[in-house]
Amino acid sequence: MGLPRPEELISDVNLKKMPSKAWMDTLPVEFKPGFYCYGAKGKNLEYVGFPNARDFHVTDPDWKLPEDWKKTVIEGIKQRIERFRTFHVFMDICVRCGACADKCHFFIGTGDPKNMPVLRAELLRSVYRKYFTSSGKIFGRNGGARDLDLDVLKELWYYFYQCTECRRCSLFCPYGIDTAEITIIARELLNLLGLNTDWISGPVANCYRTGNHLGIEPHTMKSTLEFMCNDIEDITGIRIEPPINKKGAEILFVTPSGDLFADPGIYNCMGYLMLFHELGLDYTWSTFASEGGNFGFFTSLEMAKRLHSKIYEEAKRLGVKWILGGECGHMWRVWHQYHNTWFGPVDFLEEPVSPITGTKFEHAKSNKIVHISEFTADLIKHGILKFDKSRNDNLIVTFHDSCNVSRGMGMFEEPRYIIKNVCNHFYEMPDETIREQTFCCGSGSGLNAGEIMEQRMRGGFPRANAVRYVHEKFGVNLLANICAIDRAALPPLMNYWVPGVRVSGVTELVANAMIMKGEKEREMNLRMEPLPGKEVE
């Protein structure tokens, strides 16, 4: 035979031998570096009482599962079918029309058929059929059913940690099947066996212990806010004393902890401090409820509930009237879509009313929680804030709709309204990539781990591709957003695909343009870089 031709080495060799009918035959999954998250550490699982706590290495053949693991999963499916009507319906009604197939950013960016939402769901559905439907029991494989074995379990793990629960697929499904909900349940099932990821279980344990993902302790949080106030004083000449754990304050402010330590979230955090100071708002930070994000949501609904409840506990303890949330994505979805199911309407807080404008936030009647973008947009609408937009003139801005707040909650206009009021240059990305059709950053739902950078880059490719378009066409150099995971995930994404585009929260832009009472002439922006026109020659 001799040597092969080069094209023989590459063409068709990467096929995972995936003829259309035999997707079940493509096991086992190959775990390649860059594409799978590290397994959870035993200590983190143990701390919150998750089952089967032990260190777990994905590439080890033995996942150290309990003897009766199969029974646990099947029982787990049974309980969830009974408990969640949606899950039961989603398992049964998919007609495999394919409308969702090409809508997932992971499929679009990888070309891996198992990232088609329909096939992702089918991975679990096939197991469901085997144990819970007569056709599956009788016809087995011909009825689209398969046994649950270790290889199948590993495949479930691999692909359900390749879904960011963004819900883009559900937008296109004529039956409203929400693959994100299927992923949520699948992860719960995996969690019953201790099959979690390090990046999710670490923050969960930290949050449970200290109140936030990184494990920032109260005194550190206090000092961190003070460091920010020092910088603010250098920039504006105004000294701010942030209220912390203040009993009887009117509003409790909670933001994702990424804003407290990570670049560029910190600038957004400075923005909150400046805005509240300027308004003279009667509010407080809490060192106990110091995390708006909820990684518990990526493990099980019970865990999400346990982490979430501390925010309300703290609101009760401090005796505030309502809660204001910082710029976060999934925090918002948890608050508005799950809270009432878990706890029922809150009865110890008041319906949120802006103390500045008198606006009643009626949509928050039951949860008593308002998003900072709603709050700020209302302030601007009432002409409360004064801006010098030219301070943002070096920025050519586009806006990334974060899946949870936009597609999840329908908040499209507020952030855009704010940006247009504080920046002179704003351009939208193409229609099919924004608002409810927005493309995920590729790192949501606990997938922003460093070890899966390649996976994140390809999952975020459709988003980055649209940014590149406005970067080339309009010179866009800033990607604004209202989500802490975005502020962490989009900078690497831009560095890979569209170098030259930076990332910021919206409140950073607000505070940079906001004219504060008694401020000195500003020379620097919140990042301590010279303002346009103030550069030293």
Partner: protein, 172 residues
Amino acid sequence: MSINNLLSKKRENIINKAFDLIISTYPEQSRIFLKGKNKKFTNPIGYTTNLSVEQIIDNIIADADIENFISPLENIIQIRAVQDFTPSQAVGFIFLIKKAIYSTLHKEADSNDLMELMSRIDSLALVAFDIFMKYRERIYDIKAKELMDRTWWLLKKWNIVSEIDDKILETK
């Protein structure tokens, strides 16, 4: 007919063939979708691959310098560098372009001219490998930078690390 004229005459044919061959390096079930080459925003792999192949073929027809090939090569390799490919599979699409040209022209073209052209195209494979390395290194840099972004500010504020002050440099 000169080989460039021949290339030019069969341009569409070659581009389509090369594009199909490159898309066939992806799993079978996904190819129909990936071949939709006009969906700039909803199928960026297909769109970018097709556009870049077009540019590469046009450059070959125009006898363009190697610099002109960099951008289309980058656009394809940047994508393949983070996909399920080995390094050779990520850059080896050059040989698929060769195959498309060879199989379209070998009956009509002068065999010496064709050999010469084939050998020139090999240089693209070398350049492609450098580009591949560039993007792999970019991934490593990004991983390191992400760690810094997550902690640097806090470390600095706590005086755990310190940077050279610009002012100190100015006074020297």
